[in-house]
Amino acid sequence: MLVATLLQAASGPEGPSPAPARAGESSSSTAKSVEALDLAGKAVNPFELAAGKPVVLIFVRTDCPISNRYAPTIEGLSQKYSGTAVLMLVYPDKAESSANIQKHLQEYGYKIAALRDPQHALVKLGQVEITPEAAVFNGKGELIYHGRIDNWYKEFGSARSAPTTHELDDAIQAALNSQHLAPASVSGVGCYISDLQ
């Protein structure tokens, strides 16, 4: 049932076209070996922290107005799945200091954990291109969804008054239900992570 939902979202008349297959982009990283940094600068592997729970990585920047507008939505999802899945913010800008990120978290009322991904290891693993996009891994560390949080934005400067589809929430539900899906993707609208290289 969820497969249908996601596919429909990806190919629906109003949604953006499905992202081209990005299979070739998967890096040599695997869920087991990938590492990012916590805000103290210590290397961490989110999958080790998750201990078998689904892992949800949500990619943001401090200077991306669209990912900033999503802060209450992201924090709401983090609260909703507290204890059942591990949701983490990922800041892929290597020039962004931990201190700035701390300040950003505080300003936007984030309680969710945050990681830095200066080498884009998590970006590659999650096959994300935009902030804000999310990558959802099931309990086995398999990527089951990557892409937009919902359909609030259609394109730059074109936002609905409220989203009408909720791809990320649906995907987290799927991960919790241990549904095995081919990775589905709907591209987000926001700031290009490739600009940060």
């Binding site: 991306c64 507008r69 802060a71 009322g109 730059f156 074109s158 008054s161 290009y192 600009d195």
Partner: protein, 612 residues
């Protein structure tokens, strides 16, 4: 009875910029003629000039842009984003199509500039040689025109919630002056510029916005503000802020009048950022000692009454047209629709058959609405027909449709209603018979057009009646006031005005009845007490007149006429000592009040030698 909007005009410097842009400023070498080698696009040579001219005014600290675009690193960090938003022309925000008439400070990239940006990104965003980098633009920090003469700051901030849809908040800023002053410039600082999409400053001379505010100083919500004016007081200015607005002086002779007791009302359109933010605007006012000698006015075309858009309608058309009764110079234009507006067009058909496109917005976006000023005034002779044609999209395809699924939408002031408005700032030209104010001719023609178009609308009749009354066409004025009152039987302003017109015609009973209705609706209505006092006095009911003038004086002790009339009514009752004190009060307020002086002299003669 209409919203009045003001904007400082653009400076000549900005006009020059627009011309500079049109001559190929920042044109890329990479796309030059076939003989030129295909040089790679670089930031320093090709991109920086574009970014400095079109982006940096907003994309710098403290301004509206969410991130700075001042250096190579800044721009590179958002390179693909910039490519994407320029391809769709989302940035820089500039809605009108290019046309024969040029706007001041046009912020529109050429197709070539957009292609240059794409090529730069595709070629790997090269920095280029340091010697190619132009000088950074020199932006004025702080108040743009120096320290203002008065700074008004909203008493309390509005707390913008972290999330949700667009918010509309209005701040009331009383102007602390004790006499009429002339204003050469106004700078609007709308609060945190990242959060404010646009702000309209309205002049409220009669405290009409204050009546909407629940707690003093807290402001009030609402997308549209209605400013009521009880007399014909055409305001001449657009005062508008949008991202990138630079404060500037009004043209010579076009100073803005501010009177004692005037409020400025700042209507703001805000967008939540993801965190709660306080919004506390301030306004800088610059005075001049030169009163206005040129009196442009705002002409409001609209057809909200025709807005009844079925759910799902993709191309719903609304039109209005108006024939100019006099020659005018068109100075600026402000099209306005809400979230369903799609294609907004205004044209002028001149008597000689020439057709001009005044503005055409093919992709309306409420978020970037703006007042547009023409680089040069556009002359429109008498009998020119101005036409507006707006197209609305109420289908699911319109992302900004506030209803999901689409629903029937009517005209109205809420953001989920729709509007079809077009304001034109015009300067009447030429000589007019008997030195009559050409704005009155224009206003009367406009009001007549409104009555013909929307005979069920209260304001149409009221506005026409007010113009007729002013030029002495009292019978027709009474007809129109009566039409207004039949639509809103208890409206205090219309009943008071009708009463005053009946009083002028000598219909005392009719007048008294109207003033009583006005006072039942608004017991503290000074004008109605004063007028009722006059009507009762004319009927010989001086007890009643004393009561009404007494109430008027209580409401406004500083009104010399009310004091003098109270004195006269008291004198008629033989209460000479009291009468004397009110005449004296009238003369303290206005030493030139003839009635008070003469009557006071008479009383003094009568009471000479009496024990009182």
């Amino acid at each position: 009875m209409k919203g009045l909007y003001l904007i400082p005009p653009r400076t000549m410097i900005l006009v020059a910029c627009a011309l500079f842009a049109a001559t190929g400023f920042g044109s890329p070498l990479w796309s030059s003629g076939p003989d030129a080698p295909a040089a790679k696009v670089t930031f320093n040579r090709d991109i920086a000039p574009i970014v400095y001219q079109y982006c940096a005014a907003c994309h710098r600290p403290g301004e509206a842009g969410p991130f700075p675009l001042l250096t190579y690193q800044d721009v590179k960090k958002h390179g693909r984003q910039i490519e994407a938003v320029t391809q769709t022309r989302f940035m820089p925000p500039w809605l009108p199509e290019p046309g024969a008439l040029k706007f001041a400070d046009e912020r529109r990239l050429s197709d070539q500039q957009i292609a240059t940006i794409r090529a730069w990104v595709d070629q790997g965003m090269l920095e280029g040689g340091p010697s190619d980098l132009p000088m950074k633009p020199n932006f004025v920090e702080g108040w743009q025109l120096g320290q203002p003469d008065i700074i008004l700051k909203a008493e309390k901030p509005y707390m913008l919630p972290a999330t949700g849809g667009d918010q509309y908040w209005n701040f009331i800023l009383p102007v602390p002056i004790n006499e009429t002053r002339w204003v050469r410039a106004v700078e609007i600082r709308p609060g945190d510029k990242r959060l404010v999409h646009h702000a309209n400053l309205l002049v409220d001379r009669y405290g009409s916005a204050r009546r909407v505010e629940k707690d003093k100083g807290s402001g009030f919500g609402g997308m549209e503000v209605r400013i009521d004016s009880e007399v014909f007081d055409p305001d001449s200015h657009f005062l508008f802020w949008k991202p990138g607005t630079v404060a500037s002086n009004e043209p010579d002779g076009m100073a803005l009048r501010l009177d004692k007791g005037t409020d400025l009302v700042l209507n703001t359109h805000l967008q939540p950022s993801g965190k709660e933010e306080p919004i506390q605007p301030s306004i800088g006012i610059y005075f001049t000692d030169k009163p206005a000698t040129l009196h442009p006015m705002l002409l409001e075309m609209q057809n909200d009454g025709a807005l009844d858009i079925p759910a799902g309608a993709k191309d719903f058309v609304v039109t209005d047209e108006f024939k100019l009764p006099i020659d005018v110079d068109l100075m600026g234009i402000y099209p306005h629709a809400h979230y369903l507006g799609k294609d907004l067009l205004a044209t002028a058909e001149l008597p000689n058959g020439t057709k001009k496109t005044l503005i055409h917005i093919k992709r309306w976006d409420l978020n970037w609405q703006a007042v547009y000023r023409y680089a040069e005034p556009v002359f429109l002779p008498k009998n020119t027909v101005i036409k507006m044609r707006y197209v609305y999209d109420n289908s699911e395809e319109n992302t900004t449709n506030p209803n999901h699924p689409p629903a029937r939408v009517l005209g109205g002031n809420r953001s989920t209603d729709e509007m079809a408005h077009l304001w034109l700032q015009v300067l009447p030209k030429g000589e007019h018979p008997n030195g009559s104010d050409p704005r009155m001719v224009l206003q009367e023609a406009w009001a007549r057009h409104e009555v013909e178009k929307a005979p069920s609308i209260f304001e149409s009749h009221y506005n026409l009646a007010a113009m007729l009354q002013r030029r002495g066409a009292m019978d027709e004025a009474i007809e129109q006031f009566q039409a207004a009152v039949s639509i809103r039987p208890t409206d205090p302003v219309a009943n008071n005005a009708l009463g005053a017109a009946l009083l002028a015609k000598g219909d005392l009973d009719g007048a008294v009845q109207r003033f009583n209705v006005a006072l039942a609706s608004r017991p503290d209505y000074f004008d109605a007490h004063y007028n009722l006092g006059n009507a009762l006095a004319a009927q010989g009911n001086f007890d009643g007149a004393v009561e009404q003038f007494g109430e008027a004086v209580r409401l406004n002790p500083e009104d010399a006429n009310a004091q003098a009339n109270l004195g006269t009514a008291l004198a008629q009752l033989g209460r000479l000592t009291e009468a004397k004190s009110h005449y004296e009060a009238a003369l303290r307020i206005d030493p030139t009040n003839q009635l008070a002086r003469e009557n006071l002299q008479q009383i003094e003669q009568m009471t000479r030698g009496s024990p009182h």
